[in-house]
């Protein structure tokens, strides 16, 4: 990467600060503190962490990108690296942008003189404040000084965090503020700076900081979720934890069950019984849910399965980014099945997709797949606080006493989908995974298989209302990422447009069924480039299957795309100069 790229345009309004070391060293806490202070000051932030799949220790990092404009991705490189051990420095210094500075832990190791770095003894300085636990704040003080971030904002953050109504609050606050100043002094003395952060544009209205997993959970609750069963698995566990904390109250139930097989079947039972039900899992658990999803499709049971992707196959890469479950989300079970699939591309979209998935399940009386990915699930972003009053809550059509229709009547889409009987009410039937007649009795007569196959697929036509974006649709080349690759792809698209390239933009949260307008663009496009984090190029293959002229740019490193890499690779594909 050229110094111009790293420090030319970005250093005024956009910085990446990364804390690298070992798990358990407070890396996430440090990044989170800086992120919250920055968001509080009016900036946009996005955090991103990497860590090994173990309880304590192992190489880990946590970073925050701070910007005056909404943050789309974790960025290209790092402006300030805090390296708590030699290993962390060795592994991360190559990610530094030109002009970037490393703050190293001088209590742990030393670096030869003359480099773009300086050492800091955070523990020693923290002790001098009388509060040994303030070492993180020493480091944050140094970092803030390097990016010229207003220290008073950090003071304010400290006051809020440590005002807890306890006797020692004041002492802790004073010590932490002192720690920030000591760190700032070290940075100032070093003479290094990485630039000056522009003043933020104040946010309009309330802001919330959410992770993708929390956003999905709140969205589903807003649409009336009542039942959750789940099994711990990275990176979906935080949804289970969230539900265990929040899904209480009359008519609600949440439980950690004994396997993903139990989870899917429990929500089938709950969905059948009239409840809005969801589970969340990752690849291995999703594989175990395969047969149950087939039953839900066949018997037409409303439910939502969230698949927070990680690297696969098998145990794969439990705490890394990959988008390699798309085939299996579309076709999770044997037989003729194609699931509705929603793939949000940002934390804000996770919120609305959580609500829409719940509504879709009720609307078409069947299972819905909501697919995200490690990086999106765990990153924090500040977004405009959603207005809950704007969220519609749909409930499955009811059956009234005297209705002559049967549960599994034929349906051709020309009338509203008939109601779904609920136990205790009229219209008793058998929800049957075998092919069946109108009331759910098993029959393998051709006419029933034909009419119900058509009913099951026809119902998909009911599913609309998901967010999509179309720009410059008549361009020669359309860039169409899916899911969490949206952010880096959008940054790449913006840079290509600024450069005057004739590229278009297409993004759809709904991957199946696709909105009509999105299909129209796909039909007319000569070349659709799909950046996606998998080996097979799964989304472009599915698009080609529909006759669209799509090709992928793939990456399977376990890490998200860097916008600069995408600029280079898209440029190569469209045969223009590759300077980003």
């Amino acid at each position: 990467m050229s110094p111009e790229e790293g420090n030319g345009k970005l250093d005024k309004h956009d910085f990446v600060v990364r804390f690298a070391g070992e798990g358990g060293q407070g890396l996430v806490t440090s990044a989170d503190a800086l992120a919250r202070a920055a968001a509080h000051a009016g900036y946009f932030i996005q955090t991103h962490s990497t860590y090994p799949s173990q309880i304590i220790g192992g190489p880990a990092s946590s970073q925050v990108r701070i910007s005056t404009t909404p943050v789309l991705s974790s960025g290209d490189g790092v402006d300030v690296l805090v390296a708590l051990n030699q290993h962390a420095y060795d592994n991360h210094f190559e990610d530094l942008n030109g002009g970037g500075v490393t703050v190293y832990n001088a209590e742990e190791y030393d670096l030869p003189e003359g480099g773009h770095y300086f050492g800091i003894k955070a523990d020693e300085l923290a002790k001098s404040t009388g509060n040994a636990r303030a070492a993180n704040m020493v480091t944050i003080g140094a970092v803030a000084t390097l990016i010229d971030f207003d220290l008073q904002e950090i003071d304010e953050f400290i006051r809020q965090r440590f005002t807890r109504g306890r006797p020692g609050d004041d002492e802790i606050i004073i010590a932490n503020i002192e720690a920030v100043r000591l760190g700032a002094d070290v940075a100032r003395t070093s003479g290094f700076t990485v630039g000056q952060l522009e003043s933020p544009v104040p946010h309009e209205g309330g802001q919330v900081i959410l992770t993708g997993n929390a956003a999905i959970s709140i969205g589903a609750m807003a649409a009336g979720l009542e039942f959750y069963a789940g099994y711990p698995i990275s990176p979906a566990t935080t949804i289970l934890i969230w539900m265990e904390q929040n899904l209480w109250g009359e008519g609600r139930f949440v439980h950690q069950v004994s396997s993903e097989i139990e989870a899917i079947n429990a929500i089938i039972g709950a969905g059948f019984a009239g409840k809005k039900a969801m589970t969340a899992t990752a690849g291995p658990g999703f594989s175990l849910m395969s047969e149950g999803l087939g039953l839900a499709w066949m018997a037409e049971i409303p439910l939502v399965v969230t698949n927070v992707q990680r690297g696969g196959p098998a145990t794969g890469l439990p705490t890394k980014s990959e988008q390699s479950d798309l085939y299996t989300c579309m076709h999770p079970a044997h037989g003729d099945i194609r699931m509705p699939v929603l793939a949000p591309g940002s934390v804000e979209e996770c919120f609305y997709a959580g609500a829409l998935a719940t509504n879709w399940a009720e609307r078409y009386q069947g299972p819905v797949i909501l697919v995200t990915e490690f990086g999106l699930a765990e990153r924090g972003e500040n977004i405009k606080k959603p207005d809950l009053a704007e969220i519609s809550t749909e409930s499955r059509a009811q059956v009234s006493e005297g209705d002559t229709g049967k549960r599994y009547d034929s349906w051709d889409g020309t009338t509203p989908l008939p109601g779904m009987p609920v136990p205790g009410g009229p219209g008793a039937y058998v929800a049957n995974g075998s092919e069946h007649d109108e009331i759910g009795d098993t029959t393998h007569l051709p006419r029933h298989h034909v009419r119900l196959m058509e009913r099951r697929f026809k119902k998909l036509d009911l599913l609309d209302g998901a967010h999509y974006e179309i720009e410059n649709a008549d361009a020669d080349v359309i860039i169409m990422p899916w899911g969490s690759s949206k952010g880096p792809a959008r940054e790449a698209y913006d840079r290509l447009r600024e450069r005057g390239e004739d590229v278009g933009w297409l993004f759809s949260v709904a991957l199946h069924p696709l909105p009509g307008e999105v299909k129209d663009v796909l039909k007319s496009a000569d070349k659709i480039i799909v950046p996606e984090l998998n080996y097979l190029g799964q989304w472009s293959a599915l698009l080609r299957q529909e006759g669209y002229r799509a090709e992928s740019i793939t990456q399977y490193t376990g890490l998200p795309f860097k916008p600069s890499d995408l600029v280079r690779r898209i440029s190569e594909r469209i045969g223009v100069g590759v300077t980003a």
């Binding site: 709950a270 606080k385 929800a431 995974g433």
Partner: protein, 289 residues
């Protein structure tokens, strides 16, 4: 679930034990509904895959709701029904293959939870629908199409297994006396917690055990089945264990323990769990100013 559905693609063999169990379940559901002054539609029958699973379609008269799901997953589905809608009487019907082989992993969690479900298990010691393969309760050494040189596994003792994992209501019966079986099933439905009624339900085609169970009194041959003595105390775990050490198939209630069900425990937690509105939850993520 209709009385006679000409298009229905399934029929039990003549003499199948499941006919008797069906009659018993039907009577028990009717009487339970009358007893609790609830409509039949408040009953949900969750069936597994196999001959016994078809029972859900063959219940006559005023209809309960039914789920004919996938192999081995009756308990998880019933768990979702019951905890989603505690007002529903939730009954599992499954065979020994469905419940004790592919579905075995779900029995202990159901027992730990003491979830208020009644499981009526039809044990014929064979996979009938797939034509006669060995099941967990097939005797050691038995020759079947899948064990042509003799079964290499020991036979499972289901009742001992249920006792060992803490099922709070365990009854054992056979299919030949539907009226008496109905009384037990109804009692099991009234038990607040996880109840299993394990029924010997012979397969006349592949494993006809009628004579073995009942014996041949005229020829002086005693059957395996024996009435549980009247002085048996089903509330005593020790008495239940002793009873199960006796050879043969006991007929009656083996064990019964009154205690809080999962629903009771959940209501207890519900009373203490802080309930926040969606708006309060969302607002807790607000950036403080």
């Amino acid at each position: 679930m209709s009385k006679r559905n000409l298009e229905y693609d399934f029929a039990w063999c003549p003499g199948c034990g499941d006919f008797g169990v069906r009659r018993a379940l039907q009577v028990a559901l009717e009487k339970f509904s009358v007893e609790h002054e609830e409509p039949q539609s408040k009953n949900v029958v969750v069936a597994g895959i196999g001959c016994s699973g078809n029972m859900v379609h063959l219940v006559e008269g005023d209809q309960p709701f039914g789920i004919h799901g996938i192999h081995g997953r009756t308990l998880p589905i019933a768990f979702g029904v019951k905890m989603g809608r505690p007002d529903l009487n939730t009954v599992v019907v499954a065979g020994d293959g469905d419940f004790l082989a592919i579905g075995a992993e779900h029995i202990a969690p159901a027992a730990n939870r003491n979830v208020d479900i009644t499981a009526v298990i039809m044990d014929n010691g064979v996979y009938g629908l797939t034509k006669g393969q060995s099941s967990p309760t097939t005797e050691f050494g038995a020759v079947t199409p899948s064990t042509p040189h003799g079964k290499i596994e020991s036979a499972l003792s289901p009742l001992k297994y249920y006792m060992s994992i803490g099922v709070t209501y365990i009854a054992s019966y056979y299919s030949s006396k539907p009226r008496q079986l109905a009384v037990i099933i109804q009692e099991a439905m009234n038990h607040r917690g996880f109840s299993i009624v394990h029924v010997q339900s012979p397969c006349t085609t592949y494993n006809d055990t009628y004579d073995l169970l009942k014996g041949k009194p005229k020829e002086g041959i005693a059957g395996l089945a024996f009435e549980i003595p009247e002085d048996h105390d089903p509330t005593s775990a020790q008495a239940a264990v002793d009873l199960l050490d006796r050879p043969g198939i006991p007929l009656g209630v083996v064990f019964r323990h009154e205690g809080p069900s999962m629903q009771d425990r959940h209501e207890g937690l519900q009373a203490q769990a802080p309930v926040r509105s969606n708006q309060e939850i969302l607002d807790s993520y607000l950036l403080q100013v």
